[in-house]
């Protein structure tokens, strides 16, 4: 390939976009290097290419770019150099090391956009991942290859929960390699320090790869960060046979960047100003979770997003929920009550749960117990509304038990400490203690055999 020409033909700069006139054909998606007058270099990508004009999106933001900046087209797409040495390293949102260590000697470079897994080549996710958190393990079980987001809100402890999962996640009885890829998009410096401190203190960094795009880093870079992280994850999963857990936080910031670019390109906006292709764009990220027949590794995703105004129908959680296999929903009321982790199991769901639980995988009573806990807790929460109107005295004996159950559920099952790593058996045993407060005949979701085996009345 001949060296490409350098252009000084910028005609327009708008938001993160630069419009360049050119004479040779430029491929869609090509990587671009822009050299500013002061000698500093920015990179970007071609978003729109026509005969005489290209539109370039600049990752580091357009500040400082003038019409006499030099533009060079690199004839390649954005890639990430990968190797095993990435473990324990920290990168910025664009994939450059920022931990002071040497740069990565690439085993190979991989296009960060990835490719869709052929649905026919996928293997069904079916291995239980124990997170040590009862509300996830018992009622919203995570399995390998799943994408299970945490729907949070500003001020809720989603970061603590993410870290706890990163620390504790394991496949019971398995000695296989387990790696955490952590990608932060638009988080504050303080949050980043908190994460890094925890990673270092607990020794989790050794088995992790970290990508950090901070709140004051360019917004456009955020669009690249999750793709970098997933490319690294796929490399470890499919070429190094590791089981990889990818934590992406915060997807809301990612979507804001997407909207920013859309607006700068003067696209027709969809709901709430987000671009019409946001569903497809998010799917290209989330769908990179999975397992492939005949390959040992797996990619499991826990994306975290903060719901704007705690509204689950906002386009970001809404579209995410349609792509991911369930969701873990955090609740402000529980948080205010001092419950940690404030997971509200009622709107939470794991779609792949049934494939990863039961006799050989967790325990024979798992499904029944989970259904029963759910049903009782839902009724207990409903009764709280009634009590507010008529008082507890007006309740029937049965309803009083359920009301009490609701409180116990939050106290014993939901609440656990940040360092508490419960095994699934421990969690289920606590459930049976709670179920013991309810008369046996009211447990309609549990089969008679299991009741005989586990049920013990508690007073």
């Amino acid at each position: 390939m001949t060296t490409m020409k350098e252009y000084k033909t910028i005609t327009r700069v708008a938001g993160p976009l630069v419009f360049v006139e050119k004479t040779e054909p430029i491929g869609y998606g090509t990587l671009v290097k822009v050299t500013l007058v002061d000698g500093s270099v920015k990179s970007g990508q071609v978003l729109d290419s026509s005969d005489d004009l290209v539109v370039v999106q600049i990752f580091e933001g357009t500040s400082g770019i003038s019409k006499d900046a030099k533009v060079k087209f690199l004839k390649e797409n954005i890639t990430l150099p990968v190797s095993k040495d990435m473990l324990g390293r920290v990168f910025n949102g664009a994939g450059k090391p920022i931990d002071g260590g040497s740069s990565i000697v690439a085993k190979k470079k991989i296009d960060i956009n990835g490719a869709a897994i052929n649905p026919y080549a996928r293997a069904s996710p079916a291995d239980f991942i124990q997170t040590g958190i009862s509300t996830i393990d018992v009622t919203n079980t995570l399995v390998r290859g799943q994408k299970l987001p945490i729907f949070s809100g500003s001020g809720l402890p989603h970061n603590e929960i993410a870290l706890q999962i990163a620390r504790q996640a394991k496949v019971v009885g398995s000695k296989e390699k387990f790696i955490v890829v952590f990608a932060a998009m638009g988080i504050t410096n303080e949050e980043a320090q908190y994460f890094m401190k925890d990673f270092e203190e607990t020794g989790a960094l050794e088995r992790s790869v970290v990508f950090l795009n901070l709140a004051d880093d360019p917004a456009v870079e955020r669009l690249v960060t999750p793709r970098m992280a997933l490319t690294a994850a796929e490399y470890f999963a499919y070429e190094e046979d590791a089981h990889v857990l990818v934590i992406l936080t915060d997807m809301t910031n990612y979507c804001e960047s997407l909207r920013e670019i859309g607006a700068a390109r003067e696209e027709v906006p969809g709901r709430r100003g987000y671009p019409g292709y946001m569903y497809t764009d998010l799917a290209m990220i989330y769908e990179r979770a999975g397992m492939i027949k005949g390959r040992k590794g797996s990619v499991t995703q826990i994306p975290i997003l903060t719901m704007v105004g705690d509204d689950i129908t906002h386009p970001i959680p809404d579209l995410t929920g349609y792509i991911t296999e369930g969701q873990i929903v955090l609740n402000r009321e529980l948080h205010r009550k001092g419950v940690y982790p404030p997971i509200n199991v009622l709107p939470s769901l794991s779609r792949l749960m049934n494939m990863g639980i039961g006799g050989t995988k967790t325990r024979d009573d798992h499904k029944n117990v989970s259904d029963q806990m759910y049903a009782n807790y839902a009724e207990g929460v409903d009764l709280r509304g009634l009590v507010a109107i008529v008082g507890e005295e007006a309740l029937s004996e049965k309803d009083r038990l359920l009301l009490k159950f609701g409180d116990l559920f939050e106290e014993k099952i939901v609440t656990q400490s940040k360092k508490e790593d419960r095994s699934i058996s421990q969690s289920l045993d606590i459930c049976w203690q709670l179920l013991g407060t309810i008369p046996e005949r009211m447990l309609t979701r549990v089969s008679p055999e299991l009741k005989k085996k586990y049920y013990k009345e508690m007073k």
Partner: protein, 587 residues
């Protein structure tokens, strides 16, 4: 993907002018709308979707990264078509009928671009048995022979719709799908394979009014909100409401001859579940694998958006082809919202003036055109009736049914199965809301139910529905004052409604026996519940029994056991007897 050769034009080459995502602009082409074009040096498949002065605007079915202005664009002069013939069944395709196993063999586990794969296997030889003789006159749609495609399915080979003539030559034997098996006196040649453009409905003699239900084995659908064979139904539901499980249950158990399941812009892992589960499932009617009557189309959300747009048409065309053999076909599209979003995405790339919520103004027309491909018809050349039933899942953003895709779908479908996230949260499955769902087929299907199940069917169902309606009203009061302060009669109504909800409406898709429920069983279940209601009512009215005693009747709680029992008749008979004894003891 095949193309339709009838429209051969001379090949034209133009040049790419602009690329922005899945929509590209070419210049120097004299293309017609919906012509298939080959884009760039890699010859990616695309389709003309707009013509504007010298610009031809093309949607490309594969990723366009790296494609450069100036690369050639070739117009094939053909339209986007599918290959129809033996080998369709048990296949798994992407949105433009490329078999996924072939793609995997050629590209590995990930889907890259630039691979062409025909929809049917052109190398496999099928045993063709001629059914017409030399000299016989045949016309479009007539059956000229058959092929045993799977153990349980005989594939009829038909004359393509536009052909007509006297058979000059026909031979039985082993042939591939593209070998000529029959020649007509006007020298028209017939192969086992036909091609048909996906955006054009296949012709039929006459459309008929639907008169038989599509039985699904799901109580809430069959009993309360049946859809007719040849009808159209919509399942809208917010995420997590059990839309996909419902669709899969329908695909597994409905009494259609052929199932076409289109996973349109949905989750990869979910498609895998379908792909791994279906081959192991038994068709309850033939005992063969369920796959033997199934065609799967999987275009997951991260596969190219233009192919997603095409996937529902690909599915509908395949469904119509089987319909033309005089078969009943059910097509599930999960989810039509993703299809609508694909349209929106492409429309916005075209910079078209957006309609409601950014969807193109032609959304309603396209949805109506699509659902009109459903119907019970007299096929061109076969005496049996054939039908296509369309069941479309809709994923309304935020669970808001007032959004354009749901609303425009409701205008053209007659059955509405409203999934409710609240029910799902309570683990009430299938989480179909019985108060907001409806069907407009009740009247036309009434004679069928009266004849095939019981004369009183319609009134039985209405009674059930009335009780449920009343429960809804009563629950509002209970919310305020608690159930104990209701009069005895109403407490009884609440109890009967609970029995209906738990023992009729709720159904466990994951239980071996409960997953499929025949009409007779639903009928007996309902009768037993009504027996309790009647006995309790008369005990209350005539004997002044205490309501607590009526609610404590043990036998009624055993009705539910019948759901999980193979020999439900025996069990329910016992329960009925027990119930009567218990009531007698109350006196």
């Amino acid at each position: 993907m095949a193309t339709d050769k009838k429209q051969t034009n001379k090949k034209q080459i133009g040049k790419l002018y602009r690329i922005a995502g899945p929509v590209v602009v070419a210049r120097g082409l004299q293309a017609r709308m919906y012509d298939v074009v080959r884009v760039g040096n890699e010859r990616l498949m695309g389709e003309v979707i707009k013509i504007d002065g010298e610009d031809t605007i093309i949607q490309v079915y594969e990723d366009t990264t790296g494609i450069t202005p100036g690369e050639p664009v070739e117009n094939t002069g053909e339209r986007l078509s599918v290959e129809l013939g033996p080998g369709l069944l048990t296949s798994i395709y992407d949105g433009i009928q490329r078999p996924l196993p072939v793609l995997q063999a050629e590209m590995g586990d990930f889907i890259f671009r630039g691979v062409d794969a025909p929809g049917l296997d052109h190398k496999k030889r099928w045993d063709f048995k001629a059914l017409v003789n030399k000299g016989e006159a045949v016309k479009g749609g007539d059956v000229i022979g058959e092929v045993k495609e799977t153990e349980t399915f005989t594939h009829k080979i038909m004359v393509p719709p536009s052909m007509e003539g006297k058979v000059k030559e026909i031979k039985s034997g082993k042939f591939t799908v593209d070998e000529i098996v029959c020649v007509l006196d006007n020298d028209k040649e017939i192969m086992m394979m036909q091609k048909w453009p996906v955006r054009m409905p296949r012709p039929y003699r006459k459309k008929q009014a639907p008169s038989a239900p599509l039985l699904t084995g799901q109580r809430i659908f069959d009993v309360f909100f049946p859809v007719a064979k040849g009808g159209a139904a919509a399942i809208p539901g917010p995420f997590g409401a059990g839309k996909t499980v419902s669709q899969q249950q329908l695909a597994k158990w409905c009494d259609a001859d052929i199932i076409v399941y289109v996973g349109c812009g949905e989750r990869g892992n979910e498609m895998t579940e379908v792909l791994t589960e279906f081959p192991h499932l038994k068709d309850p009617r033939t005992n063969g694998p369920l796959m033997n009557r199934t065609v799967l189309i999987a275009n997951t959300s991260n596969m190219p958006v233009a192919a997603r747009e095409a996937s529902v048409y690909t599915g509908a065309t395949i469904a119509e082809y089987f319909r033309d053999m005089g078969l009943h076909v059910a097509m599930m599209a999960d989810s039509s919202s993703r299809w609508a979003e694909a349209m929106r995405e492409i429309s916005s790339r075209l910079e078209e003036m957006p309609g409601e919520e950014g969807y193109p103004a032609y959304l309603a027309t396209r949805l109506a055109e699509f659902y009109e491909r459903a119907g019970m018809v007299e096929p061109l050349g076969v005496d049996n009736e054939g039908s296509v039933t369309l069941i479309g899942a809709v994923s309304p953003p935020g669970g808001d049914f007032s959004e354009p895709v749901t609303q425009n779908t409701l205008r053209v479908t007659k059955t509405f199965w409203a999934l409710d996230a609240k029910l799902a949260q309570r683990r009430h499955f299938p989480s179909v809301n019985w108060l907001t769902s409806y069907t407009l087929y009740m009247d036309s299907l009434e004679p069928w139910f009266a004849k095939n199940v019981a004369a009183e069917w319609r009134s039985l169902v209405s009674t059930m529905m009335k009780i449920l309606q009343e429960e809804d009203k009563l629950l509002e009061i209970v919310q305020l004052v608690g159930s104990d302060s209701l009069p005895p009669k109403q407490q009884l109504t609440l109890e009967v409604a609970r029995l209906i909800r738990e023992f009729v409406l709720q159904q466990n898709a994951f239980h071996d026996i409960d997953t499929y429920c025949e009409l007779k069983k639903s009928y007996t279940l309902m009768k037993t519940i009504l027996l309790y209601a009647d006995l309790a009512q008369s005990a209350l009215d005539d004997q002044g029994a205490r309501v607590q005693d009526l609610l404590a009747i043990k036998a009624k709680d055993r009705i539910g056991e019948a759901k999980f029992e193979k020999d439900y008749q025996k069990l329910l008979k016992e329960v009925q007897a027990e119930m009567e004894t218990e009531f007698k003891q109350l006196r």
